[in-house]
């Protein structure tokens, strides 16, 4: 906003000095804008950009956690990563895990959203109940499921045996059941978020859309799948992005429930990265693995965003 003629003029008059001429309105706006965004820019730089740059620098070095054996290695860490069989195995496992968890969470979240989207009496209670696991930390949730998997006394152990999914050994030493327990825990814990996001999306669809559809004789199924679903695309895109990213970065649940076992069969990328950095103290190599994971995630994210946006623009 420009104040015209109401600001007090100094005694020396408007013709004083070159500084006054330099500070045009446009420049004042720019500088004000820069000043106002400076705090968050500083925060982002310090908390995000600087560590990222440091990580890339570390990935080009031999960077031990202890001692002073730091030295430049160029791209050797990356070359080692490409030849590392456990790294490759962990990527495949993480992909497999993501492909299992994502559809489960989306479908279940969608169904729950349908259940709780109408404002009937008592729906608030159910929304809270379905969302409550989200509030429980990943570590706490993992411990709960770990205790349920205890042989002979755990509910999950009994269930798996009853269904013939367990050989009777502890669940965590069998690769299939171990992964199943982790998937169960993660879906239980994160489906609430998907439900809330999709529910918000569903509630945002104007009622007139359905009214006109009903007038045209559209049944419940048709309304749901040919109308609600397409209108929810941006929300589905968001939950897909969140679920995929979260699954790629899975660590806590595996660290507590399976410790990457049995025999490294449930080791995710972040678990391997953690082992390299904090068990073998090779921060440089761990940084290189981090950078590669980041690039992989970026590719997936860009791909997802493009694919979902392209359909929107049809």
């Amino acid at each position: 906003m420009t104040t015209i003629g109401s600001a007090p003029r100094p005694a020396s008059g408007p013709a004083a000095g070159p500084a006054r001429r330099w500070l045009t309105l446009g420049r004042r706006r720019t500088i004000t804008g820069l000043l106002l965004t400076a705090p968050s820019a500083v925060l982002v730089t310090v908390l995000f950009v600087a560590p990222l740059v440091l990580m890339v620098v570390m990935s080009l070095h031999n960077w031990p956690l202890l001692g002073s054996g730091r030295r430049f290695r160029g791209l050797d860490n990356y070359l080692e990563a490409f030849a590392d069989p456990v790294f490759g195995q962990s990527i495949l496992f993480t992909l497999k895990y993501t492909l299992i968890v994502t559809p489960l969470t989306l479908v279940l979240g969608y169904l729950l959203a349908i259940l709780v989207r109408r404002r009937v009496r008592g729906v608030g209670f159910f929304r809270a109940v379905y969302f409550a696991p989200v509030v429980v930390g990943f570590a706490a949730g993992a411990f709960i499921f770990l205790s349920m998997s205890q042989v002979d006394v755990g509910a999950l152990d009994w269930l798996f045996r009853a269904l013939g999914w367990s050989s009777g050994s502890p669940l965590m030493v069998q690769p299939g059941p171990a992964l199943a327990v982790v998937v169960l825990m993660v879906v239980w814990k994160t489906v609430g978020t998907t439900m809330i996001i999709l529910m918000a999306g569903m509630q945002g669809i104007p009622a007139e859309v359905y009214e006109s559809a009903q007038v045209d004789g559209a049944g419940a199924w048709h309304r749901e799948f040919s109308m609600t679903l397409p209108l929810l695309r941006p929300y589905l895109a968001l939950t897909l992005l969140l679920t995929v990213t979260g699954s790629f970065l899975a660590f806590d649940q595996f660290y507590i429930l399976t410790q990457g076992g049995p025999q490294q069969q449930t080791t995710t990328v972040v678990m391997w990265l953690f082992t390299q950095g904090f068990v073998r103290y090779r921060l440089g190599y761990a940084a290189a693995l981090s950078v590669l994971l980041l690039l992989l995630l970026l590719v997936f994210t860009v791909f997802q965003v493009r694919a979902l946006r392209a359909e929107d623009e049809r």
Partner: protein
């Protein structure tokens, strides 16, 4: 929008504010005390250290000790980071399994001359002294050797002499078998199937007492000898035998160490290999038990010299004050205090000659005796070689004992992976 006049003033005002904020964020550095000596001691999260520090400060009012207790899972990363930025401590108390790693990484001062200058140097638990390539970097502070506990009631029920524990590991297997015969829910022994640290702590002594070993000398050429030392295969084979015969609880396959004492404390397990403080836990649970050293396959005894070591941080400018503190800690009165007030095993062999001490603390005395044959696996890569869930030791053990894999193949694979881990570890420290 600000006018041309107000704007520069506002700009200056904001600039001054931001500048002041920046300066205050930097914070004030601690002032110089002048006169009093300040010693920074970093230790593990143990109450005994607080008590000892308090006692030392009372006896030495001109010394101020800042004790920082650090949880185990952050210990090495915090220490490494702090020392790199020059914010490290003067004295470090640490898990003795890390003594080679800290020495090789240059985090500890070489205290060979100081240590050997102590008139009670030979009284320390020999296997716990922090040697690395013939120089000393840390001395023992408290002990925790592994021991064998047996349930006297179950022994009697099984027809074994409750006062005479197995003297060889072969006898251990026989005793376990006899005890399991009592009832299907009574087990002979525990097998910690998912705990690399437990396996190292309990099986290493059996291997050592049998005349074997699984590590060559610490250094860049260090190798593991899982496949080449026949004793290793023999010991793993005995555990396979016990597992196949059902002498351990089925849940043991996933035992990660957290609930390992439960069966023994419930009186449902005949033999349990454990740490010295377990004696108090078992006594409190009302178990009639005995404790003795861990035997080799055909006799002999050994122990895993667990515990804490203490050393001077590299580059400390309080080396003399720090060493005085270390010397004071190692003195007999303080060592006795650890036993009397905290039930912790001291590291001075001379206490075995103190009849009053032995009578008052029989279990601690038993532990000190066992520690005479104590050893440590001396490797800078110990955590990755043994402790971690994907360690070669644990994976070979699981493959052989639970999956019935061919020992030769599994042990060779363990040697190969261990060699890679050791090479990477030395590559890291530039050694």
């Amino acid at each position: 929008m600000l006018s041309k006049t107000q704007f520069p003033r506002r700009l200056a005002a904001v600039g001054a504010l931001v500048g002041a904020a920046a300066v205050s964020l930097v914070g004030c550095s601690p002032g110089d005390d002048g006169g009093a000596v300040t010693l920074s001691v970093w230790g593990r999260a143990l109450d005994v250290d607080e008590a000892l520090v308090a006692a030392y400060q009372e006896a030495n009012p001109d010394v101020h000790i800042e004790l920082t207790r650090i949880p185990d899972d952050q210990f090495l990363s915090k220490l490494g980071t702090a020392m790199q930025s020059g914010d490290g401590p003067d004295v470090v108390i640490f898990d003795d399994a890390n003594s080679s790693l800290l020495a090789a990484s240059g985090l500890l001062e070489d205290i060979t001359d100081r240590a050997k200058g102590l008139d009670f140097f030979d009284d320390f638990f020999p296997g716990q002294i922090g040697y690395y390539q013939d120089r000393i970097y840390s001395v023992p502070k408290q002990g925790g050797p592994s021991l064998m506990y047996w349930n006297k009631d179950l022994f009697a029920q099984a027809g074994l002499d409750p006062e005479s524990p197995p003297a060889t590991f072969t006898e251990v297997v026989e005793a376990a078998s006899a005890i399991h015969a009592i009832a299907s829910d009574v087990y002979g022994i525990s097998i910690d199937g998912a705990c690399g640290g437990c396996i190292a702590y309990k099986l290493s002594p059996i291997i050592w007492a049998s005349g074997g070993d699984y590590l060559t000398d610490a250094g860049p050429d260090q190798k593991t000898t899982y496949a080449t030392d026949p004793v290793v295969a023999e010991v793993f084979g005995l555990y396979r035998e016990m597992w196949a015969a059902g002498l351990a609880a089925p849940a043991d396959e996933a035992q990660d160490g957290t609930t390992q004492p439960e069966l023994f404390l419930a009186g449902k397990q005949g033999i349990f290999l454990a740490w010295p403080e377990f004696a108090k836990t078992a006594a409190d649970a009302g178990i009639d038990f005995g404790v003795t050293s861990i035997p080799g396959i055909d006799g002999g005894t050994a122990s895993f010299a667990g515990g804490n070591n203490i050393g001077l941080a590299a580059g400390t400018d309080q080396a003399d004050a720090g060493w005085e503190f270390i010397t004071w800690l190692s003195d007999l009165p303080q060592q006795k205090l650890m036993a009397s007030d905290f039930g912790i095993v001291p590291v001075r062999l001379a206490l075995l000659d103190d009849a009053g001490f032995v009578e008052q603390y029989p279990y601690v005395a038993q532990a000190i005796e066992a520690a005479q044959d104590g050893q440590l696996p001396n490797s800078i890569a110990y955590a990755a070689l043994a402790l971690n869930a994907d360690s070669p030791l644990l994976q070979a053990f699981q493959a052989i004992v639970f999956d019935g894999a061919d020992p030769a193949g599994a042990l060779e694979a363990a040697d190969t992976r261990s060699a890679e881990i050791i090479a990477q570890a030395y590559d890291q420290i530039g050694g």
